[in-house]
Every structure is written in C-alpha cells, then in structure tokens.
C-alpha cells in the first residue's frame, strides 16, 4: 500500500472523527502557537533594543565610573590628548525633584556639555536641545523627556515656561522624543556647568563618552584609554579598575546573548507544552488502536503486512500533529503580529521558525505515534478478528 493511500485513509479518518481529532490536536496547536508567539516576543523585543543601540554609534566608547568619584574633568582633558579621538563629551547625573505648577516627580537629571548633542544626537520632539552655554555661568535651561513632561502634566506649549528643579526655577527649552531614545525615559538634561552648581559636586563626572575617528580603531583606543586612566587613578597590578569602558559592539553582543537566552527559555517552555500535546496524541492513538482492533484484524486477514498497519497509524499520528502544527503556526503568527503592535516592535514572519515548528510537531507525531502504531501492527490477526 503506498503512502498516498495511507495518508488519504488518515485524513478521512481524522475528518470522520472531527471533534475527537480537534481535541487531540489542541495540545499541539497550543504548543506550536506559544512557541511561535513567545519566540517572536523574545526576538522582537530585543531586536528593537539592538536597533536603538546600533543608532547609538559604533564609534562611541562609554566610560563610567564604578564610584561617584572615579572620573574627573581632569581625566577628560588628558583623554582629549590621545590620538584617534574625534570628540569627547562628559556628563554628571543626580536625582532631584521636578515640580511644575500641576505636578511633581522624582527624576534623573543629567548635566551635559556642548559636545553631547554631536556625540549622542538626541531626537527632539518639540523645541530644541540645550544650546551652547559654555561661557554662561548660570544657564538654568532644561530639556525633558516626553515621559517626564507628561508626568509633570506639561504639553508642547510648555516650551519657554519654567519648572522647579529642587527649589530653583529652570526654563524648558525642549522636549525629547522618547520613542526611539534608549534609556531616556524619565530623564531631564541641563548644562554641565549648571549641574555642578545644583545637582553634582565638581570635578567628579558620572560618565565620559568618546567618539573615535573611525570604527576600526575602537579596540586600540580602548586599550590606550584603559592605560591612561589606570595610570591617572594609580591602579597597578591586579587591582580592579574604578571605571568600565563599554562600546556598542559589547552592548550588541550582550543583547544578542539576552535574545538567545530569552528565545531558548521561552521556546523551551513552549516546547514542553508541545511534548504534552504529543502525549495527548499518543493517548488518543492508543485508545483508537484498541477501538479499532477488529478493523486491524480484518486488514491483516485480507493481506495487510505489519509494516502497512504501522504506516497507517503512524501517518495518522503525523497528520494529526502536522495539521495541529499548521493551525498552531497560523494562530501563533497572528498572536505574534498583535503582540508586535502592542510592544511596538517590527513584526516579521520567520520561515526558519515556521519550518522548525512544523518539523518539531511532525517529530512529536512520529515519536508519540510509534508506540500506538507498533501496538497496532503487533496484534495477532486471529485474536484481533475475535475482538468484540
């Protein structure tokens, strides 16, 4: 008996027992659906972050102090003398209470110098970023993130009005577009010099960002920076440095690892439900073999080989799991699409993922179909025929 006839037999059997087949497939449908949806969440969510980091610039190196007093403005002066450096920007940060007429909230405030705009290139929603105020002694200007602005019940017309940073009045010059800025939600920006007056203690910095002249020399500059800062901070031998240098590639690698881990974790959880679905198929197939003992006996009597009975039942299990898999893929992609809308990341059909899910469900069908199919094929014709 060729495979086609066995497949047709399996299909007509599945159609003839619609309700039972549907319920049997449910486990596989749910398993594949969650596999597709969860893995797409893991990938969608992290690839969004990855894109944002790529935008951050592959030429940038970020130095952060491990203590409040690790980095100083003098460090910056020395760093600027190193070769291969295009531009350096320094920041300080502190937490303060911001108050508008209508609301107040705690926020992270970052003091940035005039280079910050060039290096980081923040997206402005309305107004402008901080102007160059290098020579002004007390420029009380502030830029808010959209999130912060709305927390303070401010709108686009608030540009030019003032809010209190602690007890000092600042003028709002711009509101940032949070949508594609990473880590800027709930952050406000003020000029560096001003920050030293109100929220931070000079000459200590919280971070220094270095833009190199080209992407290729990033490792070399990293080495030189490390040597320079270690020397300046008197760190010798095995002592741990009081600063950390990160570049985009490290962040991207880190996010890649997180993405892989998340995919594996969520995919693993979903796979368990797929296996449970497989056990459901096995269970029903075993019942079905028992119920159809007489039929198996007839088939054996009129000349079905053991291998042909095995094929028939195995194909039935595979068709059940594969059809379940196909339905699961369709529902899973629809769910993934809506989750992507909700989470605002890009939705993409992944052929690899679809094929892998279908392959996996077929594999589950084979694994859990073998036992019932073998049971069926090993029935003794005489006894099967006599079975009531």
């Amino acid at each position: 008996m060729n495979i086609l006839i066995a497949a047709r037999l399996a299909f007509s059997r599945i159609i003839a027992t619609k309700t039972r087949s549907g319920l049997t497939m449910l486990g596989i449908i749910i398993g594949v659906m969650s596999l597709i949806a969860l893995v797409s969440v893991a990938q969608g969510a992290t690839s969004g972050i990855q894109d944002q980091f790529k935008g951050l610039g592959a030429r940038n190196l970020n130095i952060t102090g491990t203590t409040n007093q690790s980095l100083t403005t003098d460090d910056v002066k020395e760093i600027e003398k190193l070769s291969g450096i295009e531009i350096v920007t320094e920041t300080v940060s502190g937490r303060v209470t911001l108050s508008s007429n209508e609301a107040s909230t705690r926020a992270q405030i970052i003091g940035v110098d005039q280079n910050y705009k060039t290096v980081v290139d923040p997206d402005i929603f309305v107004g402008s970023f901080l102007p160059d105020v290098t020579n002004a002694s007390d420029a009380r200007l502030i830029v808010l993130s959209t999130t912060l602005a709305s927390d303070l019940k401010l709108d686009a017309y608030s540009i030019g009005s003032s809010i209190a940073v602690g007890s000092t009045e600042f003028t709002i010059v711009g509101i940032l577009d949070d949508a594609d800025g990473f880590g800027t939600r709930g952050t406000a920006y003020i000029p560096l010099e001003t920050a030293f007056k109100y929220v931070a203690v000079p000459p200590y910095l919280s971070s220094i960002t270095v833009q190199t002249t080209s992407e290729e020399i990033v490792p070399e500059v990293t080495t030189n920076l490390t040597a320079l800062l270690k020397a300046r901070h008197n760190i010798t031998g095995e002592r741990e440095a009081d600063f950390v240098i990160t570049d985009a590639s490290q962040l991207l690698d880190a996010i890649g690892t997180v993405q892989q881990f998340l995919s594996l974790l969520l995919g693993g959880i979903a796979s368990i439900s797929l296996v449970v679905g497989g056990i459901g198929i096995m269970n029903i197939m075993l019942v079905s073999v028992r119920e159809r003992t007489r039929e198996i006996g007839i088939r054996r009597a009129i000349g079905a080989q053991q291998s042909q009975i095995l094929t028939q039942f195995l194909i039935e299990a595979i068709v059940l799991s594969l059809v379940g898999g196909i339905i699961g893929v369709i529902i899973g992609e629809v769910v993934a699409y809506f989750l992507a809308q909700l989470g605002q990341w890009n939705f993409a059909l992944s052929p690899t993922m679809i094929l892998a899910s279908l392959g996996f469900s077929m594999f589950v069908g084979v694994v859990f179909g073998v036992w019932p199919a073998r049971t069926a094929s090993k029935l003794k014709p005489v006894e099967a025929l006599r079975f009531e």
Binding site: M1, N2, L4, I5, S12, R13, A16, R292, R294, E295, I298, R299, R300, A301, I302, G303, A304, Q305, Q306, Q308, P381, V382, L385
Partner: protein, 229 residues
C-alpha cells in the same frame, strides 16, 4: 487436479498444563481445486480453528498444513500475510467490511495491500461489484447497506484477488433464510465457474448444498462424504 489445501496429522492445542485444550487432534484432509466443501460440527468441535489454519491466520502445533503448495510452518509473518493476500478470499459471518470506507474501496483494499496502483485496483473492484450486482452501491459505506448487500460486497472483496480458495465462516449466519439462500446461490454459481469454496456451518441444510461435507467432533474428523457426481 491440483491440491489447494493439504493437512497431514494436524494438531492444534491451546493453553498448557492441566488446562490444555486439543482443538484439533490428528486431522488429515486434502481439498482439490474446484471443490465445494462444507465443514460441519457441533459448537467447540474445532471448525474455526481449522478455518484459521486453512486461512493462513495461524500455524499448527504439530503436523503439516500446506496451502497453495506452501508449508505454513516454514513461513514467517510477512510471507504468511502475502499468502493470505494471494491465495485466500475471506467471507465472514458478520461481513467485516472496513468502517468509514465505501464499498468500492472495501473491495479494492486487498489489491492496495498487494501494491496494485489505486486506479487499477478500483477498476478491478468495480468490475467485481458489477458482477455481484452491487455496482450502483459502490459509494455506500457498510452502515448504508443491508446485511445481504454487505455480504455481497464482502464476497466481491474475497473474489477480487482471484484467490485459490474462498473461505467462508458461517456466511449466512447473520442473514435471514431468504437472503442466506441467495448467498448460497451465489456460491454455487461461483463454484460452477471453477472457484474452490470451503464453507463452515452448523446448518445442515446449508451444508447439503456443498458437494462435500467434512464433519468434526472434538477436533477429529468423524465423517467425510462427497456427493456422487
């Protein structure tokens, strides 16, 4: 004349120790091509056991069983199955049509298992249904057919492989006497065409219509009589 079935000193026992049952006890028979044999006997006399051996569904405990020239004890399951498919056409008391399968595919199934392409198998099946007057019912499933019609489909299925032997276990047992008679008419007709038929029955009126009667008692043949031609 060639020999279709040969049994030499055949014993078949079930169970062991004190509960051992001798279902067949030293049976010798030969059935030649073209014969119409009825096997009769009381319940428990060993008729079905004998039919299972002739039908290549089982092997003897001792003795020789040859069907279409093949010694059953020398065949593995695969060869035994092929022999059933090639040499035997089964007709059962309760018809045993395949569920959820139409009459046409029921008849074609033995050919499917033999590896005949589906189209050709269905063509032959249709011819056989036509011969038995069931052509207009070829799309019906067993649940949509009367007992007599089901038995006709079953007989078509038995004949489609052109077997050496039709083996029928109580083929009229589940039919009313009129339909039963029609089935017997059918068998007589087939036998006239040269088809070998072995029929198991405990109905002596049915047995009379065969040309030879073998009577079993407690697993032994106590009578073997032929109509004089």
């Amino acid at each position: 004349m060639s020999t279709v079935v040969e049994m030499l000193n055949v014993t078949k026992t079930f169970g062991e120790g004190s509960s051992i049952v001798k279902a067949l006890d030293g049976v010798d028979i030969r059935i030649e091509k073209g014969e119409f044999v009825a096997i009769v006997g009381a319940s428990g006399s060993g008729k079905s056991t004998m039919m299972n051996l002739i039908g290549c569904l089982d092997r003897p405990t001792a003795g020789l069983v040859k069907v279409a020239g093949e010694d059953l004890s020398e065949l593995n399951d695969k060869k035994l199955t092929s022999l059933r498919n090639l040499a035997i056409g089964f007709v059962f008391q309760s018809f045993f049509l395949l569920p959820k399968t139409d009459a046409l595919d029921n008849v074609a199934t033995p050919l499917f298992y033999r590896g005949v392409p589906a189209k050709e198998a269905r063509k032959k099946a249709m011819e056989m249904l036509t011969k038995l007057g069931m052509a207009d019912r070829h799309t019906h499933q067993s649940t949509q057919l009367s007992g007599g019609q089901q038995q006709r489909v079953a007989i078509a299925r038995a004949l489609v492989t052109e077997p050496s032997l039709i083996l029928a276990d109580e083929p009229t047992g589940a039919l009313d006497s009129n339909t039963g008679k029609q089935v017997m008419d059918l068998f007589e007709g087939l036998n006239r065409e040269g088809i070998t038929i072995v029929l198991i029955t405990h109905d002596l009126d049915i047995a009379k219509r065969a040309k030879r009667r073998i009577t079993l008692k407690d697993g032994k043949i106590i009578n073997d009589e032929r109509d004089v031609a």
